[in-house]
């Protein structure tokens, strides 16, 4: 068929085409396969955070209370902060303040009402924020605590008791957002059954409002009452406020989400009695008990066993208080085997008043906000090193504190106090603690007011400076 010459040509090309076609097909398939591998994307550009917020469910009183927000700016740029204070009614207008680079500022806020809360938005430069409340109007004492850097959907609030007549323990919940929040509070005690009451179930909290609940109205006569706040709609921040009828208040910020398995609770200068309030918020149908361990890191010598926690365990959906006695600056290092376990350390002043401190994890840079409400005062700052290497620290004041700074070494497994001579220079200024090696957990533990400056007592965990914010 066809032209003879052409036929010869076609027959000659056949092997070549037969070879080329599969080669091209294989090469094409290989290329397509290469093209199909997922591409990688450029990493996010390093962006310094230029705005954020702190949530401060500080509470307040019926009258005569003074609440101050304490703002520290360890950065090199000035920061603008915008403060909005909430209660059960429509929020007012926010107020703005400038916090200079390296500066510290106290901002008085409204304090009437147990549910009082504040939101501090910051712009331009990261700041650390906490609160200092001084009770008045027939109530007494000082409470200090860091504010929460985030709001969210599940809060663990271990601190609470309803077995002392005249004492009242509150759960303060704030909703600083433009959307309604709906939440339920479950109360845990040494009883096996969690308590869920109608008044604490599906509570609707309108935008920019806060609310407080007296847990004694629901569960009375319990040595331990912890609260679990579960949010079904929106976001909230929560803390506990304890008001003693014999004089004394204490605040403890809740834990947002599951706390770490091991937490350290610094303390010092107290009367020697420590109560570790532990809540286990696991599923009540889970029969497995949570085992607990604890040790006390002291100033000198090896850590001591937290006697009350030896071989201790708890059933899920329960709460319990473990007491011990301590001397001098001490820290409790607490470990729980299970999840959904949170704890707060409660201590007592030598004259009156009481304090609660939440647990922390080691970090290299901290802001310690003062726990002194006025003069005369006996300021204290405790530093604990739960690590295995010595922590070498530099302590310096934020302005208007002086330019003084000191260096300090905290041995591994020890808790020490900052020198009194350094702290007395500016007892009402924020302190920046930086570790040049090792890591630590600091807290302010101070007395103030009264004849000798021992009338009130408060302990507040430091605020870790996140990496990359300065």
């Amino acid at each position: 068929m066809g032209h003879a010459e052409a036929g010869v040509g076609v027959r000659k090309l056949q092997p070549l085409v037969a070879l080329l076609v599969p080669v091209v097909l294989i090469a094409g398939a290989a290329y397509a396969d290469r093209d199909d591998t997922p591409r990688t994307f450029d990493a996010a550009t390093e962006v310094r955070a230029t705005s954020g917020a702190w949530f401060c469910p500080h509470g307040g009183g019926p009258e005569g209370w003074e609440v101050q927000l304490q703002v520290a700016n360890p950065g090199e740029r000035s920061a603008t902060v915008r403060v909005l204070t909430l209660n059960g009614e429509k929020a007012g207008e926010p107020e703005s303040f400038e916090v200079p680079a390296g500066g510290f500022l106290r901002i008085p806020v409204e304090s009437r009402g147990r549910e009082r809360s504040s939101m501090v938005e910051w712009f331009g430069q990261w700041v650390a924020v906490g609160w200092l409340a001084h009770a008045g109007g027939g109530e007494g004492g000082v409470a200090a605590e860091p504010c929460a850097p985030a709001a969210g959907g599940r809060w663990f609030l271990p601190d609470g008791a309803t077995d002392v007549k005249g004492d009242h323990d509150y759960v303060v919940v704030m909703n600083p957002f433009a959307r309604e929040a709906v939440f339920s509070i479950t109360l845990l005690s040494e009883r096996r059954e969690p308590v869920q009451q109608g008044s604490l179930t599906d509570v609707a909290l309108r935008p920019f409002r806060s609310v407080a609940f007296d847990v004694g109205d629901v569960l009375l006569g319990e040595p331990t009452v912890s609260a679990l706040v579960d949010v079904s709609v929106g976001r909230v921040a929560a803390a506990t406020l304890g008001v003693s009828g014999t004089g004394g208040i204490r605040s403890a910020l809740g834990y947002l989400g599951r706390p770490a398995g091991t937490l350290t609770f610094p303390g010092g200068a107290d009367a020697g009695q420590t109560r570790l309030v532990v809540m286990s918020a696991g599923d009540p149908n889970d029969r497995e008990r949570v085992s607990l361990e604890g040790e006390v890191l002291v100033e000198e010598g090896p850590p001591q066993v937290f006697a009350g926690l030896a071989d201790a365990s708890m059933p899920p959906s329960s709460a319990r208080t473990f007491p011990t006695t301590t001397t001098g600056p001490t820290s409790v290092r607490f470990t729980a085997s299970g999840e959904d376990v949170a704890a707060v350390r409660r201590t007592f002043g030598v004259v009156s008043d009481q304090a609660a401190v939440t647990g922390g994890e080691p970090a290299a840079s901290w802001i310690v906000l003062p726990a002194v409400a006025g003069e005369p005062s006996n300021p204290g700052l405790v530093l604990t090193n739960p690590g295995t290497e010595p922590a070498v620290l530099t302590l310096s004041y934020l302005s208007p504190g002086p330019a003084d700074q000191i260096e300090l070494t905290v041995p591994p497994g020890a808790t020490v106090e900052a020198p009194e001579g350094f702290l007395r220079v500016a007892p009402e200024a924020g302190v920046w603690v930086r570790a040049t090696s090792g890591t630590i957990i600091p807290a302010a533990a101070s007395y103030s007011l009264g004849h000798d400056g021992f009338a009130t007592y408060a302990v507040a965990l430091g605020i870790a400076v996140p990496e990359g914010v300065l």
């Binding site: 994307f41 955070a49 712009f123 433009a178 959307r179």
Partner: protein
């Protein structure tokens, strides 16, 4: 649900995995990727009715889109907790993603924003912007810098804004006091603002939008170069007619 919870014109920011797929209706096609490592997303911007033929005909590039990209980059990198305020000038009232169509960590980034509130919605992840601004407004207290200044926008107080009527190339309204008029469309020198008998040339508000300082009184914003585009369209139509006539089949008449 969106239509029932929000009135007036607004925009929707659509987010999803960086796979190039269309967004759920009416999200349409993505504009581009906002690259942030593992948090990279594809994104789109539509009006409340979704993508239309008109949108298809418009250029999806320019300083406004560049700034939107920068806002997303800042949001995904964790550089802000006020993404709602930054998206406000774009008129973004909702940020929407299909459930399961966001890279890990992106929902967390959105949730931590102070001014984005998550709404319950079946099949979609929806955040409502509490700091949204109208797509065309006049305000006495809105900070409107003439360049991209996210810090100023983040720190903005609650903006009291009166929306303007109109759309397309003409907007009108009334300023109760001295302030700024803003139309959230990309800046073009052909726009003019009439206020109190004066004709003003606008500036690039936020670095990309149409903005001008105004006094109390009536405000009218209009595009003056529309005739040029109309002529261009007529010329294009004429060329088509000529081309069809030239290429007609003989005897087809």
């Amino acid at each position: 649900m969106i239509a029932s919870t929000a009135q007036g014109p607004f925009r929707i920011l659509w987010l999803g995995e960086p796979d190039g797929d269309r967004f759920p209706a009416p999200g349409g096609d993505p504009i581009s990727l906002a690259e942030a490592g593992d948090r990279t997303v594809r994104f789109g911007l539509t009006d409340r009715d979704g993508v239309s033929a008109l949108d298809e005909g418009r250029a999806r590039s320019g300083s406004g889109y560049d700034e939107l990209y920068a806002v997303l980059e800042r949001l995904l990198a964790g550089g802000t907790r006020h993404a709602g305020a930054l998206l406000g000038p774009f008129g973004v009232r909702f940020v929407i993603a299909e459930d399961g169509d966001l890279p890990p960590g992106v929902v967390e980034r959105l949730t931590e924003q102070l001014d984005l509130d998550r709404l319950p919605a079946g099949g979609l992840t929806i955040f409502r912007n509490a700091a949204v601004l109208p797509t065309a407004f006049v305000s006495a207290n809105a900070p409107v810098p003439d360049h991209a200044d996210p810090a100023a926008v983040e720190a903005s107080p609650v903006v009291i804004a009166s929306p303007l009527d109109g759309g397309g190339e003409t907007y009108s309204g009334t300023a109760d006091a001295q302030g700024t008029v803003v139309v959230a469309q990309q800046f073009d020198a052909g726009w003019r603002v009439e206020n109190g008998g004066e004709v003003l040339a606008p500036f690039a508000g936020y670095g990309w939008a149409i903005a001008a300082p105004v006094q109390a009184g009536s405000v009218d914003v209009h595009f003056t170069d529309q005739w040029l585009r109309t002529v261009e369209l007529y010329l294009l139509a004429l060329l088509w007619i000529v081309a069809l006539w030239v290429t007609r089949k003989p005897g087809s008449a």
